[in-house]
């Protein structure tokens, strides 16, 4: 092989490789085996992060001076259903949060009962998957207390959260927003059922009357308008099987990064 033909060969190989790479990346994004491989990366990330954070490490907390003047409201700003409107009109007097599934004592708590339990107040940073952050002061009932009252059965592994905001056409399996957390994250001390933001009753745009705060997770793991907490062993049979509304659309179930 002569010098020039050899060089042509190398140049063509490099050009072909980079074209294949860039052109192929998008096609790969639609291939099942490839997205499965990326899914195993998610497990690796989750395990590695848990190795460092463990079940107890606390998210940073901030001072009053750090609170954002305007906390960005994101996702559903008003569920807009007649049922929700009626609840809002009566100041959520009849709103109930139920705890069901793999528990010894199913619960149905009114807002007054939820607020009668010990509360935790925390000034934390909300991190959206899009990239922005806002600091706010949240007050609510530690979920660990609520779950302890319901007494999870030994085979309970995940807490599913079912919400009042419709996301898709009626009749879809995930018509309403839903999410899930591993039980360990659900009983983390900063995981609370929040009913106040910055000293005020939770406004509708932020998830009135009660939303989840899971401070070591991204925003989409912290559902608003929570109606039901269902403990399960496995969520593969629920809706599209990925453990949450956004997960069903391709976002990772692990939302710690």
């Amino acid at each position: 092989m002569g010098e020039s033909s050899r060089r042509r060969f190398v140049a063509r190989s490099l050009a072909a490789a980079s074209t294949l790479m860039l052109g192929g990346c998008y096609d790969l994004s639609e291939k099942t085996w490839f997205t499965d491989a990326l899914g195993s990366v998610e497990r690796l990330t989750r395990r590695a992060q848990h190795l460092f954070a463990g079940p107890h490490a606390l998210a940073p907390e901030y001072s009053k001076a750090d609170i954002a003047p305007v906390f960005r409201a994101n996702g559903t700003l008003d569920p807009g259903t007649p049922d929700y409107a009626a609840h809002a009109a009566s100041h959520f007097e009849h709103w109930r949060v139920t705890v069901t599934g793999l528990v010894e004592k199913p619960l149905s708590l009114s807002m007054a009962e939820l607020k009668a339990l010990p509360s935790r107040t925390q000034i934390t940073r909300h991190d959206c998957v899009e990239g922005w952050s806002c600091i706010g002061e949240w007050k609510g009932t530690p979920l660990a207390l609520v779950l302890a009252a319901a007494t999870p059965k030994p085979n309970a592994r995940y807490a599913m959260f079912y919400c009042a905001d419709p996301m898709t056409a009626e009749g879809d399996p995930d018509h309403y927003y839903y999410e899930s957390l591993a039980l360990a994250e659900a009983v983390h001390p900063q995981t609370i059922l929040a009913y106040e933001l910055n000293g005020q009753s939770l406004p509708v745009a932020y998830g009135a009357p009660v939303r989840l705060r899971a401070e070591r997770q991204l925003g989409y793991k912290q559902p608003k308008y929570v109606r039901q907490i269902d403990l399960v062993e496995d969520f593969s049979h629920i809706a599209r099987g990925k453990g949450g509304y956004w997960e069903d659309l391709g976002y990772t179930w692990y939302g710690g990064i």
Partner: protein, 287 residues
């Protein structure tokens, strides 16, 4: 490898039978790490831009002051429906239609931070951009850990990258030589010059660790594990801004690197990073 195979391979690559002096410049582990890095950095940059496009604005501090981003890419639509893209730097708009803020995606004008040719995936798809980014971040970090371990153990860092007193003393002269596009030839090309050493030291020991740590700082779980992370970088949003600047510093390094490869002999450099063999040849050899 039997000797005649090796001879045939070297001959095919043009490494024997010429009045040139070749020397073995890059060992196999350096070459593998180099190309793996090249693939990772390309994918990380492009998927990073796809993620950035989900909220194309940068801030200082822990939270986002939406009214005062340090940089943002926006688009405005006029009454006829045509789009104008703007890049805002510290409150000053610059018209960047076609590239930043508004660009064509499959022939259609679209509001998007970076254009589709620069992002992975091309269409706006945050979930997939994140999956690509984290997968290749793992490969980059594992590659870097092995590279660091072997670089320290083998003496590569100390022998080849650590600038010597003579390097520092000769720096002004070397800057002038580079500015005149005079590059070391002959025996001097056997070792990295001071500018090369400083560039590689900066990228390997400062830029690399910085981009990984600022990336980790954006993870809420990592901030719980290591609260010092957001603290040292002055907040999560500052970390995100530094991460972005690091990415473009890598791009800048890449462009200078490619320019130097071309100016100092494309084929000779490419051969040495593919096969290890570098021709030092004559003073005027252009490889």
């Amino acid at each position: 490898m039997p000797t005649h195979w090796k001879d045939a391979a070297l001959k095919a690559l043009g490494i024997v039978g010429k009045p040139r002096d070749f020397f073995y410049r890059h060992r196999a582990w350096v070459r593998v790490a180099h190309w793996l890095n090249a693939v990772c950095l390309a994918i990380l940059l492009m998927s990073g831009l796809a993620i950035f496009n989900a909220h194309p604005a940068l801030y200082i501090g822990n939270g986002s002051d939406f009214q005062h981003p340090v940089l943002s890419l926006t688009a405005m639509q006029d009454r006829e429906g045509s789009l104008t893209g703007y890049t805002w730097i510290g409150g000053h708009p610059f018209n960047t239609t076609g590239v930043l803020g508004a660009s064509k995606e499959n022939g259609q004008w679209t509001m998007r931070g970076f254009p589709s040719w620069a992002t992975l995936p091309g269409p706006q798809w945050l979930a997939m951009g994140r999956q690509w980014h984290f997968a290749f971040a793992w490969i980059l970090v594992i590659n870097a850990i092995l590279f660091f371990a072997y670089g320290l153990w083998s003496g590569h860092f100390r022998r080849d990258l650590l600038p010597t007193g003579r390097d520092i003393a000769g720096l002004p002269h070397e800057v002038v030589q580079h500015a005149k596009f005079h590059f070391p030839r002959g025996e001097a090309a056997r070792r990295y010059n001071a500018l090369q050493k400083l560039a590689y030291v900066f990228v390997i020991f400062i830029l690399g660790p910085l981009i990984v740590l600022t990336g980790l700082t954006m993870s809420p779980t990592m901030d719980a594990a290591f609260p010092i992370l957001p603290w040292i970088f002055g907040g999560r949003q500052t970390a995100r801004t530094i991460h972005f600047l690091c990415a473009f510093s890598f791009l800048g390094f890449f462009l200078v690197h490619i320019a130097m490869v071309v100016l100092s002999g494309t084929w000779n450099n490419l051969r040495s990073m593919l096969t290890g063999w570098y021709a030092i040849g004559k003073e005027n050899d252009h490889g």
